[in-house]
């Protein structure tokens, strides 16, 4: 399994725990990652103000990835939807490809519609590529505690091109967690959004939204939450203190992990090598740092 990896802005500039844990865990599972050579915005946040900016930024990453001839591993939900949607649009409409390639010329890049990029998210790599049976063989310290899955919106929606899992009844993340010895279950708030897209304009409302979900997860008897998106993780983990202040409640305090951090723990990797000392939420309640 050889992939080119595209980290995107959030992971590479602030959510280091995700990158560290992927770099630690994936090679142990037989995954070889090669770097794109540079990092740049996938365009997703800018789609809101100018969709052409988005299409240009996303297409140049796809064009660069085509050069490597390997599937493109995209750990961030936002980058994943951005690149998938851009490719979907390019493959559907010739005039888009022409427009994009005209711009890419100056960068000596070209999107080739005959050679679409296979784009894979963390959950797909673990569940579909490595596979649960193989994953189980690496487990030396089954987790034992009960984890709530938070998929994040953008790997499940929209429904007009293939996404990582079923939009209304996803199962892959739970299956991965069960394979590494965690307990998990469906819960009513499972598919609720963290609100990250509105952080720019409504930070306080987003905080209350996250607080509501953390509280619900805790009340339903989960010991922790797992995410696979840097935006969701930032909302639930890094902002937990702020949420507590806004909600004036400690009921929202809950360990929040990246899925890859949990996989690493089950494989017996030392917690700090998984970047767990960077999580702001009380992961130390469950892990000896």
């Amino acid at each position: 399994m050889k992939y080119t990896v595209f980290w995107g802005c959030m992971i590479a500039t602030v959510e280091y725990g995700y990158e560290i844990s992927v770099r630690e865990v994936f090679p142990r599972l037989g995954v070889e990652l090669s770097e794109l050579g540079w990092n740049a915005c996938c365009g997703y946040p800018l789609m809101q103000v100018n969709s052409k900016v988005w299409l240009y930024l996303a297409s140049r990453i796809l064009a660069e990835a085509q050069r490597f001839g390997r599937p493109l591993f995209v750990p961030c939900n936002g980058c994943h939807i951005s690149l998938c949607e851009a490719q979907h649009l390019l493959m559907e409409r010739d005039e888009m490809i022409n427009w994009v390639n005209e711009l890419l010329k100056d960068e000596e890049l070209r999107f080739d519609s005959g050679n679409p990029v296979r784009i894979l998210h963390t959950i797909e790599v673990l569940h579909d590529e490595i596979g649960l049976e193989k994953l189980k063989k690496f487990v030396v310290k089954p987790l034992g505690f009960k984890v709530a899955c938070h998929y994040g919106c953008h790997i499940l929606r929209p429904t007009d091109y293939p996404r990582v899992d079923d939009a209304e009844s996803p199962t892959k993340m739970e299956a991965i967690l069960e394979a590494i010895g965690a307990k998990t279950s469906d819960y009513p708030e499972r598919l609720e959004c963290c609100g990250a897209g509105a952080n720019v304009v409504e930070p306080e409302l987003v905080a209350r939204l996250c607080g509501w979900k953390l509280k619900a997860v805790k009340a339903r008897g989960f010991n922790a939450m797992a995410t696979s998106c840097p935006a969701c993780q930032m909302n639930y983990d890094a902002k937990q203190d702020a949420i507590m202040q806004i909600m004036k409640s400690s009921e929202v305090s809950l360990p929040v992990f990246y899925l890859t951090q949990l996989v690493g723990l089950a494989m017996g990797v030392e917690p700090r090598r998984l970047g767990l000392d960077l999580n702001k939420s009380p992961v130390e309640d469950l892990v000896d740092l």
Binding site: W7, C9, M10, A12, T13, V14, Y16, E19, I20, R23, E35, G37, W38, N39, A40, C41, P45, L46, M47, Q48, V49, N50, S51, K52, V53, Y56, L57, R60, L103, D106, E107, E108, C153, H154, R157, P158, T159, A167, E168, L191, E192, C193, G195, A196, G197, A198, N199, V200, V201, E202, L205, V206, L209, G275, D277, L278, N279, E284, L289
Partner: protein
């Protein structure tokens, strides 16, 4: 009292560009709004659709930027009217016609022009209260696009209206 400004040229433009979407099929079941987490912030998807159809654009601007684009409304809409896509299109068009987007977006855009990413790598605090960086964490340097000049020029070409405003 709301007034219909049917002759508004902006409205015509908007209608044109969202012609591929199908807001006209919405019959206001409000399933979108019932599931929307941003209603509190004044973003009411089915109202936005209806306001758009009636041409009440000034009313739409309120709440338009609160939508967090979780796409739940698109997925659940029984008539496939795609409220989130309409909101996205409206945001784009308002910006294209000179309306200023929330500041956060401008900051990201400027950073992308400058550094290729929405922000530069940050120092973060770990559990020992030490500030750490990519470097101290042993993470490799992630380079910038090879031809930053062409990259910047392209962006300025595409988003000229936004970036020029900023230069003034």
């Amino acid at each position: 009292m709301l007034k219909l400004n049917e002759t508004d040229r902006l409205l015509e433009k908007l209608r044109e560009s969202v012609a591929t979407l199908t807001p006209s099929v919405c019959y206001s079941c409000a399933r979108c709004s019932s599931g929307c987490v941003m209603v509190e912030a004044g973003c009411v998807p089915h109202s936005i659709i209806q306001l758009f159809r009636l041409g009440l654009l000034n009313e739409i601007e309120r709440g338009l930027w609160s939508c967090c684009q979780c796409l739940k409304c698109d997925a659940r809409c029984p008539q496939e009217a795609r409220p989130a896509m309409l909101i996205l299109a409206l945001r784009n068009l308002l910006v294209a016609h000179g309306s200023a987007p929330p500041k956060g977006y401008m900051v990201m855009l400027e950073n992308v022009v400058r550094y290729a990413t929405i922000q530069q790598p940050q120092e973060v605090m770990n559990k020992d209260f030490d500030f750490v960086s990519r470097n101290t964490l042993g993470l490799p340097e992630l380079g910038k696009p090879a031809n930053m000049e062409a990259f910047r020029l392209n962006l300025k070409k595409i988003a000229s209206n936004l970036l020029e405003v900023e230069e003034k």
